[in-house]
């Protein structure tokens, strides 16, 4: 092998990932739906990257093709320096996990909590006997704050927050180093959201896992993330340190997202002018030429209609894809 396996500083590297879905648009005719159209980012070990954007912009698809639930149309994903593909994914499954959005459909209603959490252990045969399996499951339940007495119960007997904890325990079963949290708290009540987010942070401290934390709520993402990437129509338009992005958003889309965040502090809310987005999100089947945001952007110029802006560094690793300024 001429290509040396480079040990990079990043745990997860995504290079120009594209995921198109063929959509039937007529008799015997399909058009590619560009759900993810050239996304690149990196995540260090133990770090959290937040991924925000309106619903339908391709966040879930990024998470899923990253974990090879879909076969990406093009682009590379590296995990710990090794390229993720059809063959290598088998032994990487233990290292990469996912927590799902819907606490109801993500747990099999015909299985007990014990068997749900134990499934990854069963698949990878991570125990030598029944006792060891049970001990590990109880340990995991304790780790996520579930009552170990409830191990033999069925998932439908638990509340939404508790169900999400079961899903997290399942994700942690194989001691992964990377977890994709796809809107893991979006379906929960606000008070429970806070508990679960705090738990994610505690688990990260204890276990050193890295997260790709997907959400449509910037406030939630800002709280937990080290860095934040903002997505619009299948592309990342801005990526920066969480505080940096929050304090000085550059991309017009990020600015409008931030202005829509309801701030608990009225003073801060007043300082921030509300920018209301006009128009609808264009269909990903029929994307505007040039900058995808130009149909809703108040700074749009002639150039924006011709060229597609690429991510460029505006200092301190604050990357923005916009021609403005």
């Amino acid at each position: 092998m001429s290509e040396m396996k480079k040990k990079s500083e990043y745990l997860v590297e995504v290079n120009n990932l594209k995921q198109y879905f063929p959509i039937k648009t007529g008799f015997m005719k399909t058009t590619p739906l560009k759900a993810v159209d050239g996304v690149s980012f990196n995540i260090k070990a133990g770090e959290t990257l937040g991924l925000v954007g309106e619903s339908g912009c391709g966040k879930t698809t990024v998470g899923r093709s990253l974990l090879r639930l879909y076969t990406p149309t093009s682009g590379d994903v590296f995990f710990d320096g090794e390229r993720v593909d059809k063959n290598s994914i088998g032994h990487m499954r233990k290292q990469m996990q996912m927590v799902f959005q819907d606490p109801y459909s993500s747990l099999n209603p015909r299985m007990t909590v014990e068997d749900i959490i134990g499934e990854p252990l069963d698949v990878h045969k991570l125990y030598s006997g029944k006792g060891e399996r049970r001990d590990r499951i109880l340990e995991l339940m304790e780790l996520v704050g579930l009552n170990a007495e409830h191990a033999t119960r069925y998932a439908h007997e638990f509340s939404g927050g508790q169900r999400q904890r079961i899903g997290i325990a399942r994700a942690l079963a194989t001691n992964p180093r990377f977890i994709v949290c796809d809107e893991a708290v979006s379906a929960l009540d606000v008070s429970i959201q806070a508990q679960v987010i705090n738990m994610f942070e505690e688990l990260q401290e204890k276990l050193g896992v890295a997260y790709l934390f997907i959400a449509h709520d910037l406030l939630v993402v800002h709280h937990i993330s080290d860095r934040i990437a903002v997505m619009y129509l299948g592309r990342i338009v801005e990526i920066a340190d969480a505080d940096d992005l929050n304090a000085s958003p550059i991309h017009p889309y990020t600015q409008s997202l931030l202005s829509a965040v309801p701030y608990p502090d009225p003073k801060m809310a007043k300082e921030r002018q509300r920018i209301i987005l006009e128009g609808d999100v264009p269909s990903p089947l029929n994307m505007p030429k040039g900058c995808a945001f130009r149909t809703r952007c108040k700074y749009a110029t002639e150039r924006c209609a011709q060229e597609c802006p690429t991510l460029t560094d505006r200092g301190n690793g604050h990357m923005v894809a916009c021609f403005n300024k």
Binding site: R64, L67, L69, G90, R93, K94, M96, Q97, M98, F100, Q101, D102, S105, S106, L107, N108, P109, R110, M111, I116, E119, P120, V123, H124, H150, T152, R153, Y154, E157, F158, S159, G167, R170, A173, T174, P266
Partner: protein, 361 residues
């Protein structure tokens, strides 16, 4: 706007025009009360829960009782009643001409004489048929045959339909496309016409003479099974496929894939357990439909081989002397109604109990 900085625990005041609930009327829950909310209800498994709901359904429970009684009858009656379904009534080895077409509980002349002489004759509970055979035994045997046909046909339909439907649904894509077009074609054939044609053709071509068991059933019965196997599985296959397509969408299947589970494990642990209830319900509803088809075929003379009775052929024979002997049509007809109704109600009950999502309102 300085009230925001005040104590957050204080309840905000409701503006008189607001539609909002007046929070002043509520008290904050204490920690103890919040804890109580967390205490969970009695643990119930899926099966126990379904059985509890089923037991509360009087129609379904009534149907079970009726079906159990019928089952008991078809097993016990042939041991108690001293006549067989093909036996022409004789007294002391002599055939009695007056023993044909008797009303329920009537005795023929020879039998009456025999009783007067001190002999014992088992009563003809439903009378006799035109050849002087005990009608009660024939109805019971007919029920037995019809039930057996219904059960076996349903099993055939279930096996083919579930296998076909799960392959089509799980693998999806082009496989699914081709498999479903085949189903569409079979589905679009006029089924009664096909059943009749196939029965006729198969009766001519099937050679069952050398197998004793099959010979007793007759080529018609065999052809009926084949017909069911060829035609009636399509509905089941469609339903199973649809069910699997929905289950496949669930995130728990994705979670299993991410955990590294292979197709076999996913089908076994996640997909089948979640459609078993639907399959059982559909199977239960398939039985009366098969019984009905069997009765229909027997009624038009394509059913089981004489002298073996089935409810349909009995009804057909009863039709001949309808004005003089109406009970000969009524007994098998009532039996058909009872069985199909009971299975249908039971199937509905099972569906409500185990699969409330499927309920048709």
């Amino acid at each position: 706007m300085d009230n925001t900085s005040k104590n957050l625990d204080e309840m905000p005041k409701k503006s008189p025009l607001s539609f909002q609930i007046d929070l002043k009327k509520f008290e904050k829950a204490t920690d103890d009360e919040k804890k109580q909310q967390d205490v969970m209800s009695e643990s119930t498994s899926f099966f126990k829960d379904g059985m509890r709901k089923l037991r509360k359904n009087p129609l379904a429970m009534g149907s079970i009782v009726v079906l159990v009684l019928i089952m008991a009858m078809i097993f016990i009656v042939p041991h108690i009643v001293p006549y067989s379904y093909s036996q022409i009534i004789t007294v002391n080895g002599r055939r009695d001409k007056t023993a044909s077409n008797m009303a329920p509980f009537e005795y023929s002349q020879l039998e009456q004489k025999y009783i007067e002489e001190g002999g014992k004759v088992f009563p003809h509970i439903m009378g006799t048929d035109e050849m002087g055979r005990d009608y009660f035994v024939r109805v019971i045997y007919g029920t037995r045959v019809s039930l057996a046909v219904g059960l076996f046909a349903s099993i055939i339909v279930l096996l083919i339909g579930v296998l076909y439907g799960s392959i089509s649904g799980y693998f999806g894509g082009k496989v699914d496309l081709v498999m479903m077009r085949i189903v569409d074609i079979i589905y679009s054939l006029p089924d009664m016409l096909m059943v009749i044609l196939l029965s006729v053709v198969l009766r001519e071509t099937l050679k069952v003479d050398n197998i004793a068991f099959l010979q007793k059933l007759g080529p018609n019965m065999i052809s009926m099974f084949i017909v069911f196997g060829l035609l009636y599985w399509t509905g089941m296959a469609r339903m199973v496929r649809g069910q699997i397509l929905t289950i496949k969408q669930n995130e728990y299947v994705l979670a299993a894939k991410i955990s590294g589970a292979k197709s076999g494990r996913i089908i076994r642990k996640h997909i089948l357990p979640n459609c078993v209830s639907v399959i059982i319900v559909a199977g239960a509803l398939q039985i009366p439909s098969a019984i009905f088809t069997e009765s229909f075929l027997s009624f038009i003379g394509l059913g089981v081989q004489a002298p073996m009775p089935s409810l349909g052929s009995l009804a057909n024979a009863g039709r001949a002397g309808l004005t003089a002997y109406p009970y000969k049509l009524i007994f098998p007809a009532v039996m058909i109604c009872l069985i199909t109704l009971a299975f249908n109600l039971l199937g509905d009950g099972l569906r409500d109990a185990f699969d409330p999502k499927l309920r048709r309102d």
